[in-house]
């Protein structure tokens, strides 16, 4: 954990590191969803950037375009750094205290995940030889909106000293100014926040200000109490309060001797709203809130805070058995995600939370796709609040759609107040997918929570307006497919493409869901919706039709889904020629250069396959993951968690864990080098996604809850709870089994919860649990044909030889070796390539047909005597043990051969190779075999004599037995190698499975 101590419930640092202070300030942020205080030192030094933020409080400024065009976003919006209440300056014997200069004996900072406090303890020795202990505490209250509380104390343990402490409100903070990195920096031409009022009293004061252009106003009131302890508890010597520019400071002075302590408590309340709103007096509200907090006192607020957090952790904690470091990192992330979420239905979750100014405090799709799942399943009230924010900006989204010549609503790609503020539309407004992302989050929230009231009003309106957007945006092509042109998907390294697969898939989901939701509404709600949004039945039919005809790019050659229509035509990026320091690419290459290549910032097709899990076969996911992974830079912090989840799903456990480590430690290790600008909230949320969806294999597609657990190798267990079905579903994973339990808070009558463990459906009544074993058990054996059951290889060779000779081409045994396990068409491709020859498709078809005719004719020589030794015995054994025998041959002649061999009845299933997209080494044939046999893939053994077959078995996650024959080449990756099936019994296969992790 780098520079931080391992503590399961806190982030702790015991050394002062001025170099890394920027990221530390972000990491040590305390925030309450509405108010965020960066973890800057009270004395102000060392510091990278002191920050205090109010979620949703921003200034705007006209965007200057080099060349403007119709419909461009009009204004920048920037979350403002507001007046700072964190400052406590200390003077000792007339000298300012500085961490950098002082003789420090002990230093510790601790962000406590259960109390929500940032606590610092510093012991230091004065020039006089006196020794002092400084303790500072702060919290941003969850219970009291926009209230922060501070406790500051200085105790002398040796000697004595004259002590002065200054604290108040610093009205001077500014936002960081623009740098070369487009991701950070404010764009103000003038000071954005104009002070309008400054009042002080003996024990505090009030600051008011308004924004220059965005029409907002704010107030901040502080109340300070001070006292001395030691001999006897007394009030501190009364100090003075003074104005200084736009700031004020209260000064408290004391002469302290050993054993004596000077304590200050400060309660601060912020309020903000529309400037000129006659219905509110922000100053009065702020003063009242500060007074109330001050009267309650710091320790009372800590107790309130602890209650909030106890409740949060009860529902949200992810317990990893096996690594305290990981537990700490996961909790750190969850704590920050919890701190960042807006709670008032009018604010959302900034890309950097309230920890810094990166991305200007804007809300993106991050909220819906990365953060909402956590809240939906741990704090549904907060999920609802975040989604209610989207409903609150629906009118702005409708207006944006109108400007963009569309119907319905187009949500802004980035915004604070609901208006588009992306100044680069190819990676901004062009990301129409945000509409579908929001719809998706609403859909998931409704499925988990069953929140009928939200469904009937907010959700239904969002559903209708987003569906309208898609129905109007796309067009039916001449092939009858519904196509969406000129958009940008989540992967911003391709822009303005046609039929971005992610966008189209998510739009399809959006359209279908909207139609279902509207149809499912009670009559009254349906009518009320109809009058609110003017809905016609034909419209809904149109949505269904568009969804049914939605174009999804597919490349038959590779069997993958191209990211967009033109993707496969583009050349690959020259990764080998790109040195490390040229990443992220966006900072070192012109967009044209990036867009022109197959290179990904994040794999959006893979993301779609996670979000819309059940719409894709496992084989498809494996192909796609393997295709996109080497082409993904990971320049986006959003990519790692998705890569982790999908690596886990396809059975690449090493990669799953590596990507998990990147996302779970992203800011702790400052992987992207920019934690100082704020934390990567979506990536932090991603660590929860990675654990729950990745390692526990949770899927919630279309309201169907399923698990397919796969614990990382060095974890003993993983436990968590999910809010579903009106209660809490407990999931406890160990290496060998998984336990599902269902609890409801109150003794009301609750229905049972329907779940799936792998493909097994089961129900859990409230208070009940169910345990499933995770051990492998032999359920099916999948056999290759040629070289395993019989030897037709010679017949193939002779048929090819005759055909190829007739063409006057080269063909020999060595070339023949490369054809093993390969389809007819692919074999011909290999032969032609070896001969440096090209042919038209029709020529190829003719040759393959002739070769097959020769081969099929030669099959008639096969008899029962041609069954290889050991085959009949093994098949008989499988039958006795009730284990399925499945033939997974690439040969289209397999049924005919089995018949000739007299084995037709010995096989429960023969997989038809023409039913699959890609042959070996693609795992599809084996996965299809297991699926047809109803056997879980890990409970299967595959037997093969060719490398392509072994590769396919391994890719399918099955145990692989290689049949090498006498002196045949070694088969790499086989779990066991045999010369013939004589060497195998059912017991051998059972033991083989048990031995594999």
């Amino acid at each position: 954990m780098g520079a931080y101590e391992i503590d399961e419930w806190a982030l702790v640092k015991t050394s002062l590191d001025p170099e890394g202070i920027g990221s530390e300030e972000s990491l040590f942020t305390v925030a309450s969803g509405g108010l965020g205080l960066r973890g800057d030192h009270e004395e102000g030094d060392p510091s990278f950037h002191r920050g205090t933020y109010l979620n949703g409080f921003f200034e705007q400024e006209t965007i200057n375009y080099g060349e403007i065009a119709y419909g461009y976003a009009e204004n920048h919006q920037t979350m403002l750094n507001v007046p700072d209440a964190k400052l406590f300056r200390l003077e000792l014997d007339g000298h300012p205290f500085s961490l950098k200069l002082a003789r420090i004996d002990r230093y510790e900072r601790r962000l406590d995940f259960r109390s929500g406090e940032l606590v610092r303890m510093v012991t230091f020795t004065l020039a006089s030889g006196a020794v002092a202990e400084l303790e500072t505490r702060r919290l941003a209250s969850f219970a009291r909106p926009l209230v922060a509380s501070f406790r500051w104390s200085l105790r002398l343990t040796e000697g004595c000293a004259e002590v002065s402490v200054f604290t108040g409100i610093d009205g001077g903070p500014r936002n960081l100014t623009a740098a070369d990195d487009p991701r950070v920096g404010a764009k103000f031409s003038e000071r954005p926040l104009i002070p309008t009022r400054l009042e002080v009293a003996e024990d505090g004061g009030l600051v008011e200000a308004r924004t220059r252009r965005s029409g907002l106003a704010m107030a901040c009131a502080a109340r300070i109490r001070a006292w001395r302890t030691g001999v006897a508890r007394t009030e501190g010597e009364r100090g003075t309060t003074m104005k200084l520019g736009d700031s004020f400071f209260c000064v408290r002075r004391a002469s302290l001797s050993a054993g004596e302590e000077l304590v200050l408590e400060k309660a601060v309340a912020y309020r903000w709203g529309l400037a000129g709103d006659e219905g509110r007096d922000l100053a009065v509200e702020a003063v009242a809130a500060a007074d109330s907090a001050s009267e309650a006192g710091y320790s009372a607020l800590t107790a309130e805070q602890r209650r909030e957090l106890d409740s949060f952790w009860r529902d949200a904690d992810l317990f990893v058995d096996g690594s305290a470091e990981i537990r700490q990192a996961l909790r750190f992330n969850l704590f920050h995600v919890f701190q960042a979420a807006g709670r008032d239905g009018r604010t959302s979750l900034c890309a950097k939370g309230l920890t810094g100014e990166g991305y200007q405090g804007h809300y993106f799709w991050d909220t819906e796709i990365y953060a909402c799942p956590i809240f939906t399943y741990t704090r549904p009230d907060l999920a609802r609040s975040l989604l209610a924010y989207r409903h609150s900006i629906l009118d702005a989204a409708r207006e944006r759609a109108r400007v963009m010549s569309q119907r319905g609503a187009l949500f802004p790609w980035r915004t604070i107040d609901g208006r588009e503020t992306s100044a680069y539309y190819p990676a901004g407004t062009a990301q129409y997918h945000i509409d579908a992302d929001i719809a998706y989050a609403v859909q998931k929230y409704l499925a988990a929570s069953g929140d009928g009231a939200f469904a009937e009003k907010e959700a239904a309106e969002i559903a209708v307006e987003t569906a309208r957007l898609w129905a109007g945006l796309g067009r039916y092509g001449e092939d009858g497919l519904f196509r969406i042109h000129c958009v940008t998907g989540p992967d911003e390294y391709s822009a303005l493409v046609d039929d971005n697969a992610y966008t189209n898939l998510m739009a399809r989901n959006n359209l279908r869901w909207a139609a279902c939701l509207v149809d499912s509404l009670p009559q009254a709600a349906r009518e009320s919706l109809g009058s609110a949004v003017g809905l016609r039945d034909e419209e809904i039919e149109g949505w269904r039709r568009a969804a049914g005809a939605m174009a999804v790019p597919f490349d038959p050659v590779t069997g993958i889904h191209p990211q967009d229509d033109g993707f496969m035509n583009r050349p690959d990026w020259d990764f080998a020629g790109t040195p490390r320091e040229k990443y992220p690419l966006l900072l070192h290459f012109h967009p044209l250069v990036i867009y022109r290549h197959r290179v990904l910032k994040q794999p959006d097709l893979v993301l779609a396959e996670f979000l819309l899990s059940a719409e894709f076969s496992r084989a498809q996911k494996i192909r796609d993951f393997r295709f996109y992974e080497p082409r993904t830079t990971g320049d986006s912090s959003l990519s790692h968690c998705i890569q982790s989840v999908m690596a886990a799903e396809i059975g690449d456990h090493g990669k799953a864990y590596d990507y998990f480590l990147k996302t779970v430690r992203m800011d702790l290790d400052d992987v992207h080098g920019n934690a100082r600008d704020g934390l990567h909230l979506a990536a932090m949320a991603g660590s929860w996604i990675s654990a729950v969806y990745g390692f526990a294999g949770f899927r919630d597609y279309d309201g169907r809850f399923s698990f397919d657990p796969r614990l990382p190798d060095d974890w003993k267990g993983l436990s968590f709870r999910l809010a579903v079905g009106g209660g809490r579903l407990g999931v406890e994973l160990s290496r060998d089994e998984v336990r599902y339990s269902f609890e409801v808070d109150r003794k009301e009558t609750r229905g049972s919860l329907t779940l799936f463990h792998r493909d097994t459906e089961f129900s859990l009544a409230p208070g009940k649990h169910r345990v499933f074993s995770l051990k492998r058990q032999l359920r099916a054996v999948l056999f290759d044909l040629d070289g395993v059951i019989t030897d037709t290889a010679r017949l193939h060779y002779l048929a090819w030889k005759a055909e190829v000779d007739a063409l006057g081409l080269k063909f020999d045994e060595k070339l023949n070796e490369r054809l093993k396990g390969v389809s007819r068409e692919a074999s011909l491709g290999i032969i032609l390539e070896a001969n440096g020859l090209e042919m038209t498709a029709s020529e190829r078809i003719a040759i393959a047909r002739r070769k097959n005719e020769r081969y099929v004719a030669s099959l008639d020589v096969l008899t029962e005597r041609d069954v290889l030794s050991g085959v009949r015995e093994l098949l008989a054994g499988l039958r006795v043990h009730g284990v399925s025998a499945v033939l997974t041959s690439a040969s289209k002649n397999a049924p005919r051969i089995l018949e000739r061999l007299g084995l037709s009845k010995e096989f429960e299933l023969v997989v038809d190779p023409s039913s699959i997209v890609k042959g070996k080494p693609d795992p599809e044939l084996f996965l299809r075999g297991a699926e047809l046999a109803g056997a879980y893939r890990l409970d299967c053994v595959g037997i093969e004599d060719a490398q392509a077959g072994i590769d396919a078995i391994r890719a399918a996650g099955m145990a692989a037995v290689g049949v090498c024959g006498e002196g045949g080449p070694e088969l790499i990756g086989a779990h066991r190698s045999v010369k013939s099936l004589n060497e195998l019994t059912v017991e051998h296969l059972e033991r083989l499975l048990e031995s594999i992790r």
Copy 2:
């Protein structure tokens, strides 16, 4: 000609029109390539925007991007409005003279194309009853760089008056500020031109200034002389000279009586260069030039100017016999193009010339593609100078290529000093085609001029660096094609596309030309080039390979070249639903909305087919023109002239003339409503292109000069001269013939000129001429088969009927009618569509094959008796007259049928329908027939019985005879209809041809 008088050699206006004053100021500009003076009134009122410009003199300012990224252009560049010498303020009896307030008796302004002067005469009556004649004259000298001369006189014809006149240099002009239209408006945050010196003398003064950021300085000196005439010529009363802010004014006063005249002459000289260039004293240079011009006097400068223009018109005049209006408009355009071209090899031709501030005085591809042809063929010295400018910025283009991760040189899309200044890269830097455009202009210049010195140095370097750009930018796809990804073509309504056809075609030309040029260099030049640019032989091989493999999108369904790879997938723009006021689209729709549709700002594929004329068949050009034209908005002023040329080429003479009128009158009629911001120089040049390439059918592909004249209906003739082969080629077109002559200036030994009239090659020795008739002469008759030669229609019907019945589908005589003249595959498509059925390609192939087998089998019943009446007689007649008989049937069975009919020997040619891309109604079959017969298309008659056939014949430009049979449907568009060929003789056909224009 709207508000202007018709005068063949001048633009004349006799009324004052304060509303239209902006466009008038642009139209009345006088300029010399280096210095431009807008046509603003001397008194300053009424005025839209007074302007004085120095070509290449600009200020820069950092481009503010809403969101910046790597490699974006850094600075705006703006041609500056420099201190104004045009101002003459007049006071009469103490009252300022104003055109708006004065009692005007006569008003005339005249821009004289032969003297280059702007002359104004105003007669007005004073309050006192006195009558005065004001005459002002100005010119921007071609002979004296950056010198302007003014003559101002006031004569009293009645009464008397106290006259004061003020003139000097107004140091205060500013550029127009930014508006909402991205095409105009400067972006200065501070005053860009800082006065550094102001000196006055009794008879003139000097202004110096420097730019704030671009590092340039300028000086402007004026010398004023004044005198009175009338009784006796005397010097005017000595006046005073005064400084006023950054300006100075000389004042001259006189008491004038009837018959007396006050005259002022002012000579002004500008100089500019790098600020701090110790080698130059701009002030001294300017003063010397002004003194020299002043000493020579206004009339001497007029004489110089007239000599320059006489020479220009001798070479460049386009004489249209038939319309004085058109003559005036063409000369007006040529005059302005001549005025606009930079002449020093360091400046080019601004998009608006020096007539206004639109496009900020930037140079675009307009220069090379639209203006250079004029100069290449009329003033090669100016063409060389414009191309030398591109060579002068080659280093900047190399640096730009480096930033864009490319090799070679990438010329800026828009620039003044050579650095990219396009602030919107999707319609800026992404237009890589500018490299090929420049190469193309150089190639054409070399072919026409034979300028060996330029070829060896400047041209060769440009060739190498542009070819390198393309070789590095493209990639070989898996299909072996060389593809260029993520670029924008000239049509800016599609952006960031793959394989833009224009770009790829022009890049291919660029690569081939560069390889040829380098290979053709003399050894010494080749070595010197090699050391200058480090050229390797493999590189040149690479260019040839890339050119040979260049991808050019083609759509087999429509037979057209899609503008780019994805173009055919996009939906058409809703033209019907777009009201007039929503054009130009770019001002009313977001780029995403425009890019998403098939809608063109200008037809770039059609442009490529013009520029690379010989690479496309006529049929291809017809298809493409017809496909793109209805999808083209013409929002770009560059589109009309190209549409005109290509409409002329494909034989649509009405459209050719309509588009010509749009381009020739664009600014005179203020078609785009923005002539006030400057004239559309490329469109003006386009009127020459339209006449020479369009109506005279000139083509100069790859150094081969050819003509295919087609005069507009209301013109009697067209004459012009082209500079080629070291002399002047004269072309004189009348309605019936064309005369080509070749003259050389000096009696040096010149070789003959090789030319093509249509497809006829011929040579012209110096001093010789050659005349060709343009009348139609019968050369070939093209026959359809079914229904014209014999009646197999019944056999087809029966074969289809049997096949379709077997499928259980509907088929009847009515449906059969639609199959006439239609190919087998297309016929099946029609049948399936009528039955609402879809089939796979292989099913279709099988059915079509079976139908054909049935049909072919049934052909055996045909005999010689089945030849329709009149056929043999007509064929015999054709043979006698030496006219080719060609069979142009869509039937693949035609040869077999002819054989059965005993007609095989009667036909000179049978066109193989499988050799063409598109069947009837596409003209390809007929054009191919004419081509094979060696007959010019206008000399052919086609005979058809189906509407699709008649349409095809008409599209081919041939005379069409329709065979209607008894009571058959009327064939629309046939020039003559017959019941059978009995009615036709060769003489009939000859007369038919003669009767058709």
